[in-house]
C-alpha cells in the first residue's frame, strides 16, 4: 500500500502541475473585461484606447512575454512565493490565509453534521424500511436535493433575518471566531449546506445498508445474539462504508468547490469560495492559481484519504500488485 500511496502522490504532483498550467493558459488567452472597459472609457472621453490598454498591461505586468510570465509564476509556485494579488493588493498567501478560516468555520460543522445525521438517518431508514419515519426521511432527502442552495439561503435570510430578526442578515467578520455570536450567524449557512449535503449521505447510506440488512452474515450475527447496535455498526455500516466513502469525499469537496461560493455570496462570508470566484472575474492570475492550488490540494488529499480508507475498511482490497 505504501508504494501505491507514493505513486498516487507523485501523480498528484503531476496533475497539479497540469491543472496550474492549463488554468494559467486559459487566463492568458481570455480577454479581460476590465481592460476593455478602461479602453472604452478612455476613448469615450476623448483619450486613447491604446494608451489605456498599455497602462493596464503595465500595471498588471502583462507587457512581458507570456513565457517570462509563465516561468516566473511556476518558479514562484514551487518556492511558495505565490505572488501579489492584483485585485486585492496583498500577497496571495495572505489572501488565502485570511479566507480559509471563514470557509473552515462553516464547512467543518457542516461536514460533521451532514455525516453524522446523514448516516444515522440513512441507517435508521434502512432498518425501518417503509415506516412513516422512513417516508419522512425520504421526503426530507428529496427536499434537500431539490431546493437550490442559493434560493433557499435567501429565503431563510428574508424569513429569519429580515422578518423575524432572529439571525443577523449580514455576516460580521468582527465577531470572535469561537463565540456565541459567531455560532448564531453561522446557523443559517450551516442549515442551508446541511440540507443540501445530508440528503446525499442519507439516501446512499440507506441504499447501501439495505444491501446488507438481509444478508446472510447479518442474519448469522443476529442469530448469534448480537444486539441491534452491534449489527448496525459492525456488520452493516462497515461494508456499506466502502462505497459511502466516495460519496462522503465527494460531498466535502462539493462544499469546498461549489457550495462554498453560493453560501458565501448569499451570507457575505469572506471565505475561499468568494475569493476564488472574484479572482477569476478580475482575472487576477496569481490569486486564481493560488486558490486553484488549494482546491487541487484538497481534492488530492480527499482522494488519497478515500483510497486509504478503502483498504482500511475492506481488507479484501489489495493494492500491492497494482
Amino acid at each position: 500500500m505504501r508504494w501505491y500511496v507514493v505513486r498516487r502522490v507523485v501523480w498528484a504532483v503531476v496533475a497539479t502541475y497540469l491543472i496550474l498550467s492549463l488554468t494559467w493558459g486559459l487566463l492568458a488567452i481570455t480577454p479581460n473585461p476590465a481592460a476593455e472597459q478602461m479602453q472604452f472609457q478612455a476613448a469615450a472621453s476623448g483619450g486613447s484606447a491604446a494608451a489605456a490598454e498599455e497602462a493596464f498591461e503595465a500595471r498588471r505586468g502583462l507587457d512581458r512575454s507570456p513565457w517570462v510570465r509563465y516561468r516566473e509564476y511556476m518558479h514562484n509556485m514551487v518556492t511558495l512565493n505565490w505572488g501579489w494579488s492584483q485585485s486585492r493588493s496583498q500577497p496571495v498567501t495572505t489572501a488565502i490565509a485570511n479566507a480559509l478560516p471563514y470557509t473552515a468555520i462553516y464547512s467543518v460543522p457542516t461536514t460533521i453534521i451532514s455525516i453524522v445525521l446523514g448516516l444515522s438517518i440513512g441507517l435508521y431508514s434502512a432498518t425501518h424500511q417503509y415506516t412513516k419515519t422512513d417516508y419522512a426521511a425520504t421526503f426530507f432527502a428529496f427536499f434537500g436535493y431539490a431546493i437550490p442552495n442559493f434560493w433557499f439561503g435567501i429565503i431563510l435570510l428574508l424569513v429569519f433575518g429580515v422578518q423575524l430578526g432572529w439571525f443577523p442578515v449580514v455576516f460580521d467578520s468582527d465577531i470572535p471566531f469561537f463565540s456565541l455570536g459567531m455560532a448564531r450567524q453561522l446557523v443559517l449557512p450551516v442549515v442551508v449546506l446541511v440540507t443540501g449535503t445530508i440528503a446525499g449521505v442519507m439516501r446512499y447510506s440507506r441504499a447501501e445498508a439495505l444491501e446488507y440488512v438481509e444478508a446472510e452474515f447479518v442474519k448469522t450475527a443476529r442469530s448469534k445474539g448480537a444486539d441491534g447496535y452491534r449489527v448496525l455498526t459492525r456488520h452493516i455500516l462497515r461494508p456499506a462504508a466502502v462505497p459511502l466513502m466516495t460519496i462522503l469525499v465527494g460531498d466535502i469537496l462539493g462544499i469546498f468547490l461549489a457550495a462554498s461560493y453560493l453560501v458565501e455570496v448569499v451570507f457575505g462570508i469572506p471565505g475561499l469560495g468568494q475569493l476564488s470566484y472574484k479572482a477569476i472575474i478580475a482575472q487576477d492570475t496569481s490569486l486564481v492559481l493560488g486558490t486553484t492550488l488549494i482546491f487541487t490540494f484538497v481534492s488530492v488529499i480527499g482522494n488519497l484519504v478515500q483510497d486509504v480508507a478503502y483498504t482500511v475498511l475492506d481488507p479484501r482490497i489489495d493494492y500491492g500488485d497494482r
Binding site: P33, G46, E54, A58, W84, S87, I154, V170, P270
Partner: protein, 620 residues
C-alpha cells in the same frame, strides 16, 4: 443650472429627495481614481435641515457596496469602488457643487485667460507618516515624474489627461507644469480651455508625498510603487481627509474613523457646518455581493444605505425606516444603430433614423419598464443640464410624435428610392421578405432584456419590422461587436483605434449586428464636449459607423474654446439641437440612481452631484 430634482422622471408624480453618489459623479467624467465614499454622499445646498442645530458628532455610518475595492493605492487603480474608499481619507484639490461652482478643498485656482491656471494650496495641509507639509513641490514632482512619465511606468490610468496636442508642433505633448512658490504651481495649457476646472485632471485630484515617490521614480520601480506599504494602508493621509484608515478586510468591510485634525475645521470663509466635520464617528462599507441580502440588510437596519433597483423601489418607499432617494445620473440608455457594412444599410440615412424615432414610445419605457425612475431622453444631454436648450431639441417618441402612422409614412418616404417598401403593414425587402433586424442586449441585465423586448414589439407594430432580441455578455459584446477593424489585407484610408477601425464600408466588427442597447453612453453634463468622439466620423468611439451630416464636432470645439459662458451655452444648445435632429442613435431614457437611506441619516439633498460635502452628513 437646474438641479435635476425629483428624478422620478418628468412623468413621475411622487415628490422625492434626490442624491448623487460620488462614485456615480465620478463616472460622469470617466475618472475613476478620485471617487467619493461608497454610498455616502452629502448634499450641497444650505437647506434648513443641513444648517440645523441638531447636527452633532456621533454614530457610525454603515453603507452596503456590491463590490469590493481593488486597492487603496489610488495611483494604480481604475475602479470606482477603490476610488471611493480612498476619498474617505483623502480629499482632493476641489469639489464641484451642484450648481457647477467650484468648492475649494485643498486649494483653489485662478486664471486670467482660461489658458494659464495658477493653483494655490492651503497652508494647513499636513501629510501623515512624517512627510511634513503638503507643498507645490509634491504636486509638480508627481505630475512630471508619474503622470507625465514616458513610458507610463506606474500605469496611472488617467495619465492621458496630462497630455494635450500642441498646435505648434501638432504633437501630443505633456502639459507644462511649473512650481511658482512654496504653495503655488502653474499649469500652462497650449490652448484656452475654460472647462479645465471641471475636468477630472484637477477635479478631486489627489496627491502623494514626494518622499514616497522618490523611492520609486529613479528606477521606475512599478512593482515597488504598487506594493508600497504606506500607499496601500493610506498611512500618509495626515489631516487631509475627513476620516482616517482603520482596517480593510477584503470581501467583508472597509472601516475608517473620524479624523479629529481634519484641515477643513480650521478654514475660514466656508459654510459653518464644516467647522466640526465630519459628523460620523466612523464609516464602514460592508461588501455584500448578493442583492437580496443587501436589501435585506437595509430593511433590517443593519446598514444605513444601499442602492435599490427600480423594481424594488416602491416596496422600500413604503417602509417607515428607509428613505428612498431618486437622483439623476448622466448615462443614456439608447439604441445604437450599426451603420457599418455588416449592419442594416438604411440606418445610414438620417431620414430613416428619424422615421424610426417615431416607433418607440419613450414614455412607456420610462413609466412601465423603468418604473418611472428615469427621464425621457431626446439628445446627448439630460433635460435639466445647463446646456440643454428646449427650443432647439426635437422631440420624438412622445405625444403625437409617436405611433404607427407617423412611423410608416416617414419610413416609406425615406426608403422610397431603395428596394424596401411596405406590403400592407409589413416592411419588405426586394425579395418580398419582411425586414428582420437583430437587437443585442446584455445577458446579465434583466431590465435591458425587457427594454429590448419592448423595442422589438414597437418596431413590429409601428414600423412593420421584425426585430429579434439577442442576449450577449458584456465581454462578448465588447470583443465581437464593439471592436472594429478592417479585414486582413485591406488597407483602410484611416483608423481611429480599436473602437473605430476605419471607414464604415471597410472596417466592421467580427460579428454582424443591427441594433444594440448593451452600452449606455455618458452625457458628461459638466463637460459636454467630452462626448465629441461619439459624433465624429473619425471619433475614437464610433464603432457604429456614424457619418454626421452637420459638423457637430466643430460646434463642440467652438463652444469649448469660448470663455464667454453665455456664448458657450448657445453653442452647446445648438449642438444638442443638431444631434436630436440627426438622430445618430435612438435616444430612449436617462435612468435615475436610486438609493435607500436609514431614516435618521441627514444631510443629503435633492441635487445632482451633491456628494461634494458628504463630510457634513449626520445622524438625527
Amino acid at each position: 443650472m437646474a438641479s435635476g430634482n425629483d428624478r422620478r422622471g418628468t412623468l413621475g408624480t411622487a415628490e422625492r429627495r434626490g442624491r448623487r453618489g460620488r462614485r456615480d459623479v465620478l463616472k460622469l467624467l470617466g475618472a475613476t481614481g478620485v471617487a467619493g465614499f461608497a454610498g455616502c454622499s452629502g448634499n450641497g445646498s444650505d437647506t434648513t435641515n443641513t444648517e440645523g442645530t441638531d447636527r452633532s458628532v456621533g454614530g457610525r455610518y454603515v453603507s452596503a457596496s456590491s463590490v469590493d475595492a481593488q486597492s487603496l493605492n489610488w495611483l494604480t487603480i481604475a475602479d470606482a469602488t477603490s476610488g471611493s474608499f480612498v476619498t474617505a481619507t483623502l480629499d482632493g484639490i476641489w469639489a464641484i457643487k451642484p450648481n457647477r461652482e467650484i468648492f475649494p478643498l485643498w486649494g483653489d485656482y485662478s486664471t486670467d485667460d482660461g489658458r494659464v491656471y495658477e493653483i494655490e494650496l492651503r497652508d494647513n495641509l499636513e501629510w501623515g507618516a512624517g512627510y511634513g507639509r503638503m507643498t507645490a513641490e509634491d504636486w509638480v514632482y508627481m505630475i512630471k515624474n508619474v503622470f507625465q512619465a514616458q513610458p507610463n511606468w506606474s500605469g496611472y490610468p488617467n495619465a492621458g489627461d496630462w497630455f494635450r496636442v500642441n498646435p505648434e508642433s501638432g504633437q501630443r505633448e505633456p502639459v507644462p507644469v511649473e512650481r511658482t512658490g512654496e504653495l503655488t504651481f502653474e499649469i500652462r495649457l497650449f490652448e484656452v480651455d475654460p472647462s479645465l476646472p471641471f475636468k477630472p485632471m484637477l477635479w478631486r485630484q489627489q496627491c502623494i508625498p514626494k518622499g514616497i515617490l522618490e523611492k520609486y521614480v529613479p528606477n521606475q520601480d512599478t512593482k515597488g510603487l504598487k506594493q508600497d506599504e504606506e500607499l496601500n494602508t493610506l498611512a500618509y493621509t495626515g489631516n487631509l481627509g475627513p476620516y482616517t484608515y482603520e482596517s480593510w478586510e477584503r470581501s467583508a468591510r472597509y472601516t475608517v474613523t473620524r479624523n479629529d485634525d481634519y484641515y477643513l475645521q480650521d478654514v475660514e470663509g466656508i459654510p459653518e457646518r464644516f467647522a466640526e466635520a465630519p459628523y460620523f464617528e466612523g464609516e464602514t462599507t460592508r461588501i455584500i455581493s448578493e442583492e437580496s441580502t443587501r436589501l435585506g440588510a437595509l430593511e433590517s437596519g443593519e446598514v444605513d444605505s444601499a442602492g435599490i433597483p427600480p423594481d424594488k423601489a416602491t416596496r422600500f418607499e413604503n417602509l417607515s425606516n428607509v428613505t428612498v432617494n431618486v437622483t439623476p445620473q448622466p448615462y443614456l440608455r439608447l439604441i445604437v444603430y450599426n451603420m457599418r457594412a455588416n449592419g442594416w444599410k438604411p440606418f445610414r440615412s438620417k431620414a430613416v433614423r428619424r422615421a424610426l424615432a417615431f416607433a418607440v414610445n419613450k414614455e412607456t419605457v420610462v413609466e412601465n419598464v423603468l418604473r418611472g425612475y428615469a427621464d425621457v431622453a431626446q439628445t446627448m444631454q439630460p433635460r435639466w443640464s445647463d446646456w440643454y436648450d428646449d427650443s432647439r431639441v426635437e422631440a420624438f417618441g412622445v405625444g403625437d410624435r409617436y405611433g404607427p402612422e407617423p412611423t410608416r409614412s416617414r419610413l416609406e418616404s425615406a426608403l422610397s428610392d431603395t428596394e424596401y417598401a411596405y406590403d400592407g403593414e409589413t416592411l419588405v425587402d426586394g425579395s418580398g421578405e419582411q425586414v428582420t433586424l437583430s437587437i443585442y442586449y446584455d445577458s446579465g441585465q434583466p431590465t435591458e432584456g425587457t427594454v429590448a423586448e419592448y423595442i422589438a414589439q414597437e418596431f413590429g407594430e409601428n414600423a412593420g419590422i421584425d426585430v429579434q432580441p439577442e442576449a450577449v455578455s458584456s465581454s462578448t459584446f465588447q470583443n465581437n461587436y464593439v471592436q472594429t477593424s478592417a479585414p486582413e489585407g485591406a488597407d483602410p484610408e484611416w483608423t481611429a483605434g480599436v473602437f473605430n477601425g476605419g471607414p464604415r464600408d471597410v472596417a466592421t466588427s467580427a460579428e454582424p449586428w443591427d441594433m444594440s442597447i448593451n452600452l449606455q453612453f455618458n452625457t458628461y453634463p459638466f463637460t459636454p464636449a467630452s462626448s465629441k468622439g461619439f459624433f465624429e466620423k473619425r471619433g475614437g468611439i464610433n464603432f457604429y459607423g456614424y457619418y454626421p451630416e452637420a459638423n457637430i464636432s466643430e460646434l463642440y470645439e467652438r463652444a469649448s474654446a469660448t470663455t464667454d459662458e453665455e456664448r458657450r451655452r448657445e453653442l452647446f444648445g445648438e449642438a444638442f439641437g443638431v444631434i436630436s435632429e440627426e438622430q445618430p442613435f435612438g435616444f430612449l431614457a436617462l435612468p435615475s440612481s436610486i438609493t435607500g437611506y436609514a431614516s435618521d441619516v441627514r444631510g443629503y439633498d435633492e441635487e445632482f452631484n451633491t456628494g461634494w460635502d458628504s463630510q457634513t452628513w449626520y445622524f438625527a
